[in-house]
């Protein structure tokens, strides 16, 4: 007790889930767990438990497809919660909660406890959805509006088009470049589109990405990325 130092008043304790369990390998007791075990009064003051990025319970906490859990502590939260007072409320926050993830979370964390589900639109106000019917899925003509007709420099920049397969991404990029060269023969072999998917080398992807961002030293620009889902991590 003689070694007390700083004085502070904390009302939120932000921790990794690992702080709530003994280390399975060494048996070491983490700091927060020690604190909870030592001090009953402190334990009684825990009124709320928030699981931020709650989808981790599903994605990192349980064994899936035969691969063991990446962070088993997430899957063991159900063992920790009963140690808290009965009045402590549990909250899960996430932006990634499809039904199968919710099912696991509810099973693990809530059981028979009552809970209120608050669902907000995950959209942003500047997103617009439109549908356009095309006759043939292998026809890329409906993308030709992206190719400038008159001024070759007026191509819309920063466009990402997503495709469900690498082949279609390649074909679309080929189509866009072909159309561009046909309408602007003076531009030679320069291109406006490039495909972006896992089938391409890391070096190539990095270069294309730099060209897309306009940070490539040679000055060549890519305005349109034809990507598979890996483009979502751009």
């Amino acid at each position: 007790m003689s070694q007390m130092l700083t004085k502070g008043a904390y009302n939120a304790i932000v921790v990794s889930p690992e702080q709530l369990f003994c280390d399975p390998a060494s048996g070491a007791v983490p700091k927060l767990l020690k604190l909870l075990q030592m001090n009953r009064t402190f334990l009684q003051l825990i009124k709320h438990v928030y699981v931020d990025e709650g989808h981790e319970v599903f994605f990192s906490g349980i064994e899936r497809h035969g691969i063991p859990a990446f962070r088993p502590s997430y899957g063991m939260l159900d063992k920790f919660l009963p140690k808290l007072p009965n009045t402590t409320t549990i909250h899960v926050l996430s932006a990634t909660l499809p039904p199968h993830v919710i099912r696991v979370i509810e099973e693990k964390l809530f059981g028979s406890r009552e809970r209120k589900f608050i669902q907000l639109p995950l959209n942003r106000h500047n997103i617009i959805y439109t549908t356009r019917t095309i006759a043939d899925i292998n026809e890329y003509k409906n993308l030709s509006f992206l190719v400038p007709r008159h001024n070759p420099d007026s191509c819309p920049s920063g466009v990402i088009i997503f495709f469900e397969s690498t082949a279609r991404a390649d074909n679309a990029a080929g189509f866009l470049n072909e159309t561009f060269r046909t309408s602007h023969p003076t531009c030679g072999t320069s291109r406006i589109a490039a495909s972006y998917h896992a089938g391409l080398s890391q070096t190539y992807l990095t270069r294309v990405f730099q060209q897309f961002c306009g940070t490539e030293t040679s000055g060549e620009r890519i305005d349109i990325l034809c990507a598979t889902s890996c483009g979502a991590t751009v």
């Binding site: 007790m1 070694q3 007390m4 130092l5 700083t6 004085k7 502070g8 008043a9 904390y10 009302n11 939120a12 304790i13 932000v14 921790v15 990794s16 889930p17 702080q19 700091k31 927060l32 020690k34 604190l35 030592m38 001090n39 009064t41 402190f42 003051l45 825990i46 009124k47 709320h48 438990v49 928030y50 699981v51 931020d52 990025e53 990192s60 962070r71 997430y74 939260l77 009045t87 409320t89 909250h91 899960v92 926050l93 996430s94 932006a95 909660l97 919710i102 509810e106 809530f110 009552e114 809970r115 209120k116 589900f117 608050i118 669902q119 907000l120 639109p121 995950l122 959209n123 942003r124």
Partner: protein, 173 residues
């Protein structure tokens, strides 16, 4: 000036009730007019309509939450409906699951119950140290005092103090 009911021969219990009711109505009026003024200039009439539709006791809590958020942010932040809804449910002891987009302001729904009950402590479980730091910084904006505990933090001499109850934590390590 305080009107003293006791000198008028009314039982103490009744006096208490009357005082309570009086303070309640006064607070509600004050809170309402303040909220109205602060929110309507930001085009948040919908929020006020929603608060008005609540039960009388929740009504007061909602205004209280709004005022607390106003005051800790110097009038910059007005809670949105889902933040109030989630925050108040938490305050009233309900469990919640919130599915809302990144950057939609989930932190404020954690802040509200903590502002409303200063003795409460919340444990926030967050997957990455980087996120924990961001989370802690965000909470500080609302005058919540966060403590991030991970392997990097030396907790051995930490002392946690909350109003009325003080903990002296000696060397844990």
């Amino acid at each position: 000036m305080v009107y003293d009911f006791r000198t008028h021969g009314i039982s103490q219990e009744l006096t208490l009730h009357a005082t309570h009711a009086y303070i309640w109505s006064l607070t509600l009026d004050l809170a309402k007019s303040l909220c109205w003024e602060l929110s309507s200039e930001r085009g948040l009439d919908e929020l006020l309509v929603w608060i008005d539709s609540l039960d009388p006791d929740q009504h007061l809590d909602a205004f209280r939450a709004c005022l607390l958020v106003f005051s800790v942010t110097d009038g910059w932040v007005v809670p949105r409906q889902f933040q109030l809804e989630a925050g108040l449910a938490t305050y009233r002891g309900k469990n919640t699951i919130i599915n809302a987009g990144t950057g939609s302001g989930k932190t404020l729904s954690m802040v509200i119950p903590l502002l409303m009950n200063l003795e409460a402590i919340a444990i926030i479980i967050s997957p990455l140290k980087r996120l924990q730091t961001t989370q802690a910084r965000e909470l500080e904006r609302f005058l919540i005092k966060p403590l991030a505990i991970n392997q990097d933090v030396e907790l051995s001499l930490a002392e946690i103090k909350v109003p009325r109850i003080e903990f002296h934590l000696c060397r844990l390590a």
